[in-house]
Symmetry: C2
Subunit: 201 residues, 2 copies
DNA sequence: ACGATTGTTGCATGCTCTGCAAGCTTTCTC
DNA sequence: GAGAAAGCTTGCAGAGCATGCAACAATCGT
């Protein structure tokens, strides 16, 4: 990884951190792009080279989407063969390969608090699930051998992402929180769905 | 209904219609608030007395939320006693008491087309479900006798709204489309959920 | 070390959105 | 009905967001 690339990710980080900190301190509306840029020691114009808007600086890389090999494995019926179990595996795949867990968790906590305080951000976060939802629908359809436009894959994907979102909202991103705990919560949530909408009520 | 109030709703309508038409014609980015206002024969400043942004003019009154008496009836276990059936009743309640169905459907079709063309609007629409979701979670918890913060009511509400959203996306808002058809589609979608996550797979 | 590539910055500009105060229209009251 | 009260519309001023462009600076490839 060259110097150039390292500098870029550093600037990106600095801008995100500055934005989060200032927003938490003074509220979204009372912080200008210029102030964020100043805090990160770049020009205001540079801010817009990294993020298209203030909101982007907070939500930029959310939600994390499962990457190609994981999706591929799910689509072809793996890894366990059990639908719900494999869905959980796919949805939590990003939780394991995060190298810098500490700063990651810190930022997640800040984002969470900010989103609870600023409804505009909560809606924005919510809206971003749309893209991922479509991808998940596609792999579910593939796994089931359905045509890509089949309604049930979209419905189930939408519900799965809803569960994921709801569960993430309840996470605290603390040190003690293990991936296994998250999986258990998802399992329980999916079971709730089964009980509410399944044949046995 | 006095003259003043009639004029207000007329202006609101005019602005919405003007916005939708111009956006469809030229795309969201290529229409200014001034143009919309001119088309509706009011000043640009007046536009902002009605809508906080261009996006609001398109999505302003979406999604429609079930009103108090309907929520109340659902919360207390009615009207049929069957959870899924009553959920469907609640979620489709707004479809019946729409007096001016024609212009309503027309606008819905325009919105739908616009949202398919402008991803920004689709995300915004998606994000707006958040508010309704919280209300639905509250009445589900009440119906089940759960404490208001119980996780399963949020999970189930999230899934229910996801199903609703997904189903609305598939509607065509044509004359022939009856409320009964919509209910049937919702029923099928909830059944898909039950099959995917229920005990029998 | 040299040119090519990529990133940063200032400048100009258009548009969004808000607050404010003046003027107009509708409503209320007698 | 006339006059006061309430509510809307409008123009104006101004802060801030966001983008294109061109010059300049830093890195990279060889």
């Amino acid at each position: 990884m060259g110097l150039r690339e390292r500098k870029k990710t550093a600037t990106r980080r600095a801008l995100q951190e500055a934005a989060l900190e200032l927003f938490l301190e003074r509220g979204l509306e009372n912080v200008t792009v210029e102030e964020i840029a100043a805090e990160a020691d770049v020009s205001a114009r540079t801010f817009f080279n990294y993020f298209a808007s203030k909101e982007e600086a907070v939500l930029g890389d959310l939600p994390v989407r499962p990457d190609e090999p994981v999706r591929q494995e799910f689509a072809s019926g793996g890894p366990s063969g059990d639908f719900v179990e494999d869905l959980i595996t796919m949805l939590t795949s990003f939780l394991v390969n995060t190298e810098d867990l500490v700063s990651h968790r810190r930022r997640m906590r800040m984002r969470k608090e900010l989103m609870e305080r600023e409804p505009q951000l909560a809606r924005g976060f919510f809206g971003r699930f749309h893209t991922v939802e479509l991808e998940v629908a596609a792999v579910i359809a593939e796994r089931w051998g359905d045509p890509p436009e089949e309604n049930r894959s979209f419905v189930v994907a939408a519900a799965a992402m809803a569960v994921m979102r709801q569960t993430m909202k309840r996470l605290h991103f603390e040190e003690g929180e293990q991936v296994a705990d998250v999986r258990a919560k998802l399992r329980e949530a999916f079971q709730n769905l089964g009980e509410a909408f399944g044949p046995v009520r």
